[in-house]
Chain length 199, copies 2
DNA sequence: TGTACATCAGTGAACGCGCGTTCACTGATGTAC
DNA sequence: TGTACATCAGTGAACGCGCGTTCACTGATGTAC
């Protein structure tokens, strides 16, 4: 390890990203992140004003990745109809939320005040804009207000599903009504989304 | 204050409920709950094995209240069609989630392992069962699998909406696309739900 | 090219805090005879 | 009804921990002349 590391900021961010995903954002300390980067516990303060600063960066990366994934759902499926690409996007969203649940939770956690981090707000907006684009394409001539409503509707649909599946995952093995219903859904998520995102 | 309090368990729970709603579950300590009940910090251990025990009770009460509210949406509107009652129920759900956001967050927080608290699981099931009933009524003859799918679909819809509105509340004043869309939705939530819960 | 000096990016020690929980205790209450 | 005693439901002190952050510091790097 060089004394002047040269790349520490980046390394701290990526340590933080992986620790967040591994342990959840409420089990991350600045100290442990520094340790993972083989650096003293005070070193991060050369690059981040506070812990929240670093967490905001992690969240921002999450939204950037999400936007990228949503974007790919359309660009990689140009042969599909708009409707099919829309379903793909919903599927990609839910997949992202489930596979990176801890990061996803940080992205939606109230512990980071997005308003204080304009770049984070912008990254989150970027993901939402992917949704706007496809829904606008699906509904030519739609009014701005109706476009907004449709976006929120479908966004809430996939967002809620990510939350519920995470919640209910364990219940599935227990045999509650909710658990039974959820196991039907997760067994064929794509066909469920095709039904649920129809309109 | 009597030495043998007689009602301490109940008082601790209700202190915990109000502190949770006021400050959020991650800003509650056993110590502060005990203090609010005018009792030493160790007194709760006569009634709860751990902090998680008490939190589970708070969560349970939340689900019971939710189930009650959902139930009222149908019983208090017997003159309405099933469809209208269903919309009322969705509205009541979202209202509950928004008005008691901190409690709602605890109810869905992974910090309490529902499987360890059968009574909590049962309370959560009770709320879900209200949804099952009305959806079954709306779809006579529906198969169990399809009933499950429809329940999850609509549950995810309202659950997601609660999450998003909480998330985006501040953005509304900032003028992001998501904020603009959300302010359209919140301006007339009932008509939005009438659209979003249609099928 | 060499030198003086400012600045940068690390370090280890320490502060101060709040927390969950345990412990030995004590005073009140309930009960058997 | 009185008494002896077990149990119950509180108490204050203390343990041990991890945390974010500050501080005075030091060695490396960059730069002006």
């Amino acid at each position: 390890m060089k004394y002047h590391h040269g790349n520490l900021k980046e390394e701290l961010i990526s340590s933080a990203c992986s620790m967040c995903e591994a342990n959840g954002h409420d089990h991350m300390s600045l100290r442990s992140i520094a340790k993972e980067a083989n650096v003293s516990q005070t070193a991060p303060y050369r690059h981040f004003k506070t812990k929240e600063d670093l967490l905001a960066e992690v969240s921002k990366r999450g939204f950037e990745k999400l936007a990228e994934i949503l974007n790919q759902a359309t660009t990689q499926n140009e042969n599909m109809t708009a409707k099919e690409r829309f379903i793909e996007m919903g599927f990609a969203y839910v997949k992202f939320g489930l596979e990176r649940k801890n990061t996803y939770d940080l992205m939606h956690s109230p512990i980071i005040d997005k308003v204080e981090f304009p770049e984070l707000l912008e990254a989150a907006s970027g993901a939402f804009d992917e949704l706007i684009k496809i829904i606008a394409e699906l509904n030519p001539g739609i009014s701005d207000a109706d476009l907004g409503r449709q976006c929120i509707r479908h966004w809430a649909q996939v967002h809620g599903l990510v939350g519920l599946i995470g919640d209910t995952k364990i219940d599935e093995s227990i045999g509650t009504n909710a658990g039974d219903a959820m196991s039907i859904v997760t067994k064929d998520l794509r066909s469920f989304l095709t039904m649920a995102l129809d309109f």
